[in-house]
């Protein structure tokens, strides 16, 4: 893993120095803030009504009404912004020719790939951390189930990792960042909507398709359930697409 640290630092610097990161980050935080406010405000409204209705009051739960919808909403924003964060990783280096430097420095393709991936994960963690104050405030005012919240964050982080591993692959396929982003957005959307056909294709294929669908696995995290199947799904998704990226880079080398 020689050179990992250097590439990681360089990538992180390039990310934090680029206006794309801040634009994407601010957009994400504004929209996620809106979603959060909406969930909490709706919860607030219902709890006023519940003060006269005991049956309703029993059904009220922060987990079901705030935490779960919030993380599911976040996944929609992530679908839109992850391709924007990953699109430059290889496409820019191909365009400016610096990939030739990177390919001829004494670091393996695997180290650079992992360093780049680690850098975008760090950036994503930074953006996601921006949503924490909302929960802190909520936790101050109500009794919040923190383990469930952290479980949701783990899920959303894994989901973002999966999205970005696919984004890296498309970025390595072209020198045009917009094409990379569009390809990645399209492919992610396919993984999202593939679950819709599960009722049409019969029980066996249906179960398979349901397992393949990328957001279904988020739901259990959002509910506060830590299921190894879901963790394995995201981790193997990431490994698979990073592996494809390595093969793509190798093929690029041969073609020259």
């Amino acid at each position: 893993m020689k050179g990992f640290g250097s590439v990681y630092r360089k990538e992180l610097y390039a990310l934090f120095a680029s206006p794309i990161f801040y634009t994407v980050g601010v957009t994400f935080l504004v929209i996620s803030g809106y979603f959060f406010y909406n969930s909490v405000a709706y919860y607030n409204l219902l709890s006023f009504q519940a003060s006269q209705n005991l049956v309703l009051a029993e059904q009220l739960s922060l987990e079901q009404m705030v935490i779960r919808p919030f993380f599911l909403d976040l996944s929609i924003i992530l679908l839109l912004i992850c391709p924007l964060i990953t699109m430059r990783l290889y496409a820019e280096e191909r365009k400016t020719g610096t990939l030739e430097l990177l390919f001829t420095y004494p670091v393996s393709d695997c180290s650079t790939l992992l360093a780049k991936f680690a850098a975008v994960l760090t950036a994503m963690a930074t953006i996601l951390a921006g949503t924490l104050p909302g929960f802190a405030l909520l936790g101050h005012m109500a009794s919040l189930n923190w383990p469930a919240v952290l479980c949701g964050y783990l899920g959303i982080f894994l989901l973002a990792g999966a999205f970005m591993s696919l984004g890296i692959l498309t970025s390595s396929m072209t020198q045009n960042q917009i094409i990379a982003a569009v390809l990645s957005f399209g492919a992610l959307l396919m993984f999202w909507i593939v679950g819709w056909t599960k009722t049409l294709v019969g029980p066996t294929a249906g179960a398979l398709i349901e397992y393949l669908a990328i957001t279904g696995h988020l739901d259990s995290f959002a509910k506060g359930i830590l299921d190894s199947r879901d963790i394995i799904y995201y981790v193997s998704f990431v490994i698979l697409f990073l592996f494809f990226t390595l093969r793509q880079l190798e093929s690029y080398r041969w073609k020259g």
Binding site: S6, K10, A14, T98, L101, T104, P106, G256
Partner: protein, 316 residues
């Protein structure tokens, strides 16, 4: 130090280089010369482990470029064509990155950065963003990253392209100052540059090496014909016809720009100057100037590059 044996590279079905074989010994400065698209960059990219060859073996310091790519890469300082750089980093950050990926850390990094900054004259721009620098400075930054960690082999692909004359001279001086510590392979399509800097020249055309020698030897060996330039006063067209039929004369050209100027190409084995002078006087013209013209490396290069199709025809 650098060894290429039968290197061949196809882009799809298009051969970029075919059966390129050469070696560069330790401490040599070798120029890789060829017109654009001749395959210089392809050969260099194989040697620097950027891409594997379709066939053939490339070795640097006795290590195979394909099998032990990382070891080879740590022995090479490479300045790619068009000098790609991370334009949004500052010079020092970029050099720190280069030092890091080349395996330096801590104090060694700082010391090495100070050294290359001093060698390349980058003190003034050390904390500026690379994208804002002039082309000459960018070229120095490119050289500086190649020099980090003091690799024994330097491979420079067109190091002076796109620079203005003063910058070219500066970069050439810089390269010349490096020749004592490094084995240098340098590609260029600018002939005087190669003649100035390099001890040996590899001429490549259409993907094949067509000549290898010192600039001096190339000039004398390949000079198949001698050229005599003369200036006369009077009617020269008839004189040209007479000279053309003279034994040993291959070709006579009448200069259009310079009135009264004739260029006579002759056999190298005989010195025809006395005979030509006599002819001129016999025809009653006044001889103003008569001299033997040495072929420059440029002429030789043109000869080699333009003769190629003829050779191919005779082979087939």
């Amino acid at each position: 130090m650098i060894e290429a044996q039968g290197l061949t590279k196809f882009y799809g079905s298009l051969p970029a280089i075919r059966d390129v074989t050469f070696r560069v010994d330790q401490g040599e400065v070798v120029g890789f010369l060829g017109p654009n698209g001749a395959g210089k960059s392809t050969a260099i990219r194989i040697l620097t482990c950027y891409m594997p060859p379709t066939a053939g073996i490339a070795k640097v310091d006795g290590i195979d470029c394909f099998a032990s790519s990382l070891q080879v890469r740590s022995r090479i300082g490479y300045l790619p064509e068009n000098n790609p750089l991370y334009n949004d980093l500052t010079v020092s950050r970029f050099l720190r990155f280069a030092a890091g990926v080349k395996g330096l850390s801590g104090k060694n990094t700082t010391r090495e950065m100070d050294r290359v900054v001093a060698v390349c004259g980058l003190e003034k721009v050390r904390h500026r963003i690379i994208g804002h620098l002039s082309k000459g400075y960018k070229q120095r930054v490119g050289l500086a990253q190649a020099l980090v960690n003091n690799p024994p082999v330097l491979i420079l692909d067109e190091p002076t392209i796109g620079l203005d004359p003063t910058q070219i001279i500066e970069i050439r001086k810089l390269i010349q100052s490096l020749r004592e510590q490094h084995t240098i392979l340098l590609s260029s399509h600018i002939l005087p540059e190669v003649a100035q800097i390099c001890q040996r020249v590899l001429i490549i055309n259409k993907g094949q090496i067509v000549a290898t020698d010192t600039p001096g030897n190339l000039t004398s060996q390949l000079q198949k014909s001698a050229q005599i330039s003369l200036k006369v006063e009077g009617e020269i067209n008839q004189l040209a016809a007479v000279l053309e039929s003279h034994e040993g004369v291959q070709k006579v050209t009448v200069s259009r720009e310079d009135a009264g100027r004739l260029l006579v190409e002759t056999d190298r084995s005989r010195d025809l100057r006395p005979e030509i002078a006599r002819k001129v006087i016999e025809r009653g013209l006044s001889l103003l100037e008569l001299k033997l013209v040495d072929l420059s490396l440029e002429d030789i290069f043109l000869q080699l590059v333009t003769e190629e199709p003829v050779q191919e025809e005779t082979q087939s």
